[in-house]
Subunit: 217 residues, 2 copies
């Protein structure tokens, strides 16, 4: 059974990721509680959970959806570039044959799947599959958290996303390195891949053709 606080946290998280709730919007306990038909206690729990995930700013008394900024995006990618290659290097030797087969077909599907949101989900799953082979629970948790935070920026420009061909190619290269047991290569490819993703989304967000990227300071 799912507790009320989990349900509220999941709902708010979803709405914040997709941008339905705007960055900077205040999250009053009372209003959220009324909205979901629960008391303020589970809402408190949910807000604290989301604050721990970095989606909410808990400014002493008031909770607001954390704002988006190019600076924060930069910082998030710097952290990912530091951590994920390490995680890849550690995980690579433990990636079993079954998972490699799975990822191979996943990549094939992704190259055929036009809906951008599906590509994003596949992308997350690809990397998560590799990472899950590392016996590093905290590193995995941190990575998951950082990826979730960057997701907000992806959804911001999701309707103009596209041209993921290069990123897909890099996925293949990473998988090849893992298959051949070259952990160092896989790690370095991952680092480059993340750097490229950063450039990619940054370019989209700064492109004057991108429609209304409001809430971005």
């Amino acid at each position: 059974m799912e507790s009320a606080s989990e349900r509220v946290a999941r709902a708010l998280r979803q709405r914040m990721l997709t941008g339905e709730i705007e960055p900077g919007a205040p999250l009053s306990q009372s209003r959220v509680a009324a909205e979901y038909g629960v008391s303020r206690i589970p809402v408190r729990d949910a807000l604290r959970e989301l604050a721990a995930e970095g989606l909410v700013d808990l400014d002493a008394t008031t909770a607001v959806v954390r704002g988006l900024s190019i600076g924060e995006l930069q910082e998030l990618y710097e952290m990912r570039e530091a951590i994920e290659p390490v995680l890849t290097r550690i995980a690579a030797p433990s990636v079993g044959r079954a998972k490699i087969v799975m990822m191979t077909s996943l990549l094939r599907e992704m190259e055929a799947s036009p809906p951008v949101v599906d590509w994003l989900k596949g992308n997350a799953r690809f990397h998560a599959t590799i990472y899950s082979c590392a016996d590093r629970p905290r590193m995995i948790e941190l990575t998951t958290q950082l990826r979730r935070l960057t997701d907000r920026y992806l959804y911001l420009g999701v309707d103009v996303l596209g041209g993921t061909g290069r990123l897909s190619t890099e996925h293949r290269l990473i998988l090849d390195a893992v298959r051949e047991g070259d952990a160092a290569a896989a790690a370095d490819l991952t680092r480059a891949h993340i750097a490229r993703s950063h450039e990619f989304i940054l370019g989209r967000l700064l492109d004057p053709l991108t429609p209304q990227v409001a809430h971005l300071t």
Copy 2:
């Protein structure tokens, strides 16, 4: 004014860091609430906060002090080795003259201060001073968190600590690099410094002469 939940969180944190509350010990909301003379609500908040910091395991219904293990220590240092050099490189160009003077005298004090706990505090302050010059709030927060978690292991062997001479020398080298504006060198020295700290504490913990390092799986 400090809220009750903050007071409880701070108290529990302190007791967990020093090992007064043993790893694996269950933290019942009711008992903690009674112990501090507050209701369960602020205790819930405090436990969630500590869980976010990684000091407490929130297993669906029950909260327990997170256990200590050589494996987790390894993981924490792997993360620190990945992040802190990056933070050093970014911070280095922004470290002002005043801070350098401050750190210089801090290092001098540390070499003269015999109480180990004071050395640990000075150590934390030295690195924090450098990091605070980087405009990277989240990276700083993560680093703080990781350092706090490793602190638990340091306190575990605090009575046998000593021989920090080499680490002190490395501090000087890092500070020299920062002073000369060589960010890359400062970053690499930081990485090596963290690796050495890891070896250092690991050696202490595994040393058969170290008295009773219980609670370590």
